[in-house]
Subunit: 321 residues, 2 copies
């Protein structure tokens, strides 16, 4: 009987091989749970496409690729079975989860969703080319690399405004480019950002091109929404905050208005035994450090869920497996 | 005017140099906050006295001392001012915190308490000598090192029983030593632990001596509470779960019945601007990974609190500092 068949379910299937999923995998494997890690592309998640990371404790300054290789080495040292496949659907039947990978269905006593989220892009020339070399979607991550320099921020919602306040302490000058004539962020944030002395607001403007050379971004071309008039801004960075979309379409449970999975402090969703960690969760902060902590919590709680389930499923039999 | 004077408060004072405090320090310093780290003894917290750590993502297997040195290097690379002093009291006056270090008082706009907790000890011969070499207070941390071996667990509360269930999947046999004739853990946990096939319960017994040699623990001597009859157990490990005491006596805010600081999901306590992270908090899991994530969250939120306060304190003046 193959592990993952309905009669021989995994203790836990972890969906997503970013920091949250990998940390969960390590905790689950060390607890001797039968664990399967499912990843659609390559391990590492968003950090795999991150240039430099300087805020994950223990690694003063490391490239995203290098950090991923440390994480991979760690998971390999414990021996976590990994499958590269796309999860289409998770359903729950008679207390067991069924994870659909194309034709095949894998059964599990618990599931940890660590499927991440993707920042929305503008889709303008130069944007994709300079991601990680001047184009950023995270001020907490990349802001300190722009100390004393000029940058563009695109967006006008809560995230754009919060990140503008944060960045205004670090950088020399910010051009905040917003296609409307007012911010959408909550009032108190608006007041705070409008009071910052080093932010120039370009209302009813949009970014139309990112320019750069071998050193990275050198400027951003903006255009008046009504006027069509163009202006070239000489900056070293552009931060894009026009939304973030979680990869949670395949899972059915309570989510917030943005599609992020709602959980309790133990990372358990509205469906018992179904956990969510990292960027796909309604987490207070999307950072490697946070995902790694959440992964640990979810794995330990998943272990407790499995122990509880074993009592029900195999009552009378030995509880060990 | 010296930073920390009432007219020139720190943006944030972080109390405790374990993983939670150090992670918070890195996030705060990178956000260009004026930060002071206060530590009573040496950096690292509980991990400084931990033998081997294998579950902090990115470090497959590392000694506690080595991990502390990586953490220290990281904090030094950013340059976080650190003071070695004992915090006697935190009070709040007119929106500012006063942190008492003996005679001196340091002022701050926000405080992150990362002061940790200490597991209670039995105070028996051999216990202190073999801490980290067979004597453990954390099954999630050390359990996997005892695969296929026999161990003793001391205690009968929720933690002892949860950890016994966890360990029973890893080790060969557990002797659970409890001074009473019934467990104090919640009923459902009791049922679950009593069903495990590889746990022998030694009711109304106490551990009286830990024995060992150069290789570590080799046995534990137990004694009947009523009978005084001794028995030698041949084991490689002893896990002690007789309580954990948080270092939170110096701070006045909402705490749970055990003295752990209650917070919301942003790590903010009942006192606005006062945060708590790691083992001293009512956290769902006491692990390096969790503390590191919580430190990041608290620092970012503390930054938001400071920005808010600046609007109030210096209205009319520039909001930058």
């Amino acid at each position: 009987m193959k592990r993952g068949d309905i009669m021989s379910p995994y203790d836990v299937v972890i969906i997503g091989g970013g920091p949250g999923g990998l940390s969960a995998a390590i905790y689950a494997a060390r607890a001797k749970m039968n664990v399967l890690l499912v990843e659609k592309a390559g391990l590492g998640g968003q950090i795999a496409i991150t240039d430099v990371i300087e805020n994950y404790l223990g690694f003063p300054s490391v490239s995203g690729a290098e950090l991923v290789s440390h994480f991979e080495e760690h998971v390999k040292s414990i021996g976590v079975p990994t499958r590269y496949a796309y999860v289409e659907k998770i359903s729950k039947e008679r207390g067991l989860f069924l994870v659909s990978l194309g034709e095949e269905k894998i059964s599990a006593k618990s599931v940890i969703v660590a499927s991440g989220a993707e920042p929305s892009r503008l889709g303008i020339p130069g944007e994709a080319e300079f991601i990680g070399r001047g184009v950023s979607t995270c001020a907490t991550c990349d802001g300190p690399f722009y100390r004393g320099r000029d940058v563009v921020i695109v967006g006008g919602g809560d995230t754009a405004v919060k990140e503008a306040i944060y960045l205004s302490r670090l950088v020399s000058k910010i051009y905040l480019v917003h296609r409307r004539d007012a911010l959408r962020a909550e009032k108190i944030l608006q007041e705070r950002v409008l009071a910052r002395p080093n932010i120039e607001f370009l209302w009813r403007h949009k970014a139309v091109e990112v320019k750069g050379d071998a050193t990275g971004v050198t400027g951003v071309e903006v255009e008046g929404v009504d006027t069509g008039k163009k202006r070239s801004l000489s900056v070293h960075g552009i931060f894009i905050f026009v939304g973030i979309v979680p990869n949670t379409g395949f899972v059915d449970c309570e989510k917030d208005s943005g599609g992020f999975i709602s959980t309790d402090e133990n990372m358990e969703s509205s469906v018992p035994g179904l956990f969510a960690v990292g960027d796909c969760r309604d987490t207070p902060l999307r950072q490697v450090a946070v995902s790694v902590g959440e992964g640990a919590i979810a794995a330990v709680r998943a272990g407790e869920h499995v122990a509880e389930l074993e009592g029900k499923l195999y009552s009378g039999k030995s509880a060990s497996n």
